[in-house]
Symmetry: C2
Amino acid sequence: MPSIGIFGTGNIAYAFAKAIVNTEYKLAGVCGRNIENSQIFAKKFYCPIFNSINEMNENIDIYLLAVKDDAIEELSEKINTEKLVLHCSGVQSIDILKQKNKGVIWPLQSINKESFIDFKNTPLCIESNSEPNLIALETFANSLSQSVYKITDKQKKYLHLAAVLSNNFSNHLLALAKNICDEHRLNFNILKPIMIQTVENAFIQHPKLIQTGPAIRKDLKTIDEHLQLLQNNKQLQSLYELLSKSIQEMK
Amino acid sequence: MPSIGIFGTGNIAYAFAKAIVNTEYKLAGVCGRNIENSQIFAKKFYCPIFNSINEMNENIDIYLLAVKDDAIEELSEKINTEKLVLHCSGVQSIDILKQKNKGVIWPLQSINKESFIDFKNTPLCIESNSEPNLIALETFANSLSQSVYKITDKQKKYLHLAAVLSNNFSNHLLALAKNICDEHRLNFNILKPIMIQTVENAFIQHPKLIQTGPAIRKDLKTIDEHLQLLQNNKQLQSLYELLSKSIQEMK
């Protein structure tokens, strides 16, 4: 089976390594900027350390650049290979890779080193620059996860935007709600069941069809009361107004 | 055990009735404006129909006004009783009830007639106007759910605000994300695992500590790209900017 060389020793590198060791692919080695972190990584996954990029070339079939978004391009420039080179970023285009054979394998999940990630159920969004490369990439991705989606570079940009809107911004709204609960000595966990259910329902039918709350009801009295409660936080007031307006206009 | 009389035959009335029939409380009857709906309700829960409010008084110990927010006050004015009268609204104050013995039992969950609600795990927020009434209400609430929270009228206002911010507005962000996915032929389900995990994590640690995305990273290049993608939707552009600013200021 093909061998995978991983660049980087951060969260994404760990998540991929954990997943790879459960497949028939071989984790051929790791290459990191920090030797100490590379040693910890190598020890954890029983794989060798590559001290230089050139050392890798003879041993591996797929280069997995699991490094920070803004480090991918520079690293790619240092790699001289005909083998398949992949990055894992949702932000960066496939075009920043300089190689002839290249692709993207983007796990759409929040990945921390500590948290248990069920990689088998993590959506992997893949794209490549040629049909044979895409086949190799798809085979690799299918071995790691049951949820593999072929997307184009343009689709990736919109998917990333959709993820920011829904996921990053919802998390922030939860943070704002948590602050309000803390300030008024309310147990934030009261909101957990409704949040879980709302998210689950949103994937059963279009969330606009199950929108609830004062904005969709045009309950101006409650909206005014809420704006009153937020009178010392002009920014949150504006946010509340804009979101309410947006809900009403989607209706 | 005390007998409960339910006013209303909508979603909330159904959810309470389903929960009550599994307790030692007795579902004494239903009183609805629409006779046909009352008959369906009565048949489903094997309970009598009360054709008038006066008919109820001798038979029940707790009046449960499970009617629309803006129908509570008018209904309350028609009820002449010394028994405990409850409404179920998160929006309305306890003060709109005219009775001497009153309270609120607010299920903080999205409730549809069709959807299966695990009422045992639905948070019930309760308040009452006297200690003995609160004890009776708490006993009743504890029989229905494992998650009962005593709150004040002021806390209820802030909790409702927090629920709108987190739940209603997140649902709308999901709707916006769904529209983007549909427009670009992306499977919206790709976003499900990250959304579920984000919500679950938000109740483990303060969501501001696990904020991800371009705003918290001050990744201006990605933010600009996203604003470009939204150039034909000025309102969503403003929303994106305001939410990004709010994230950066919370940091």
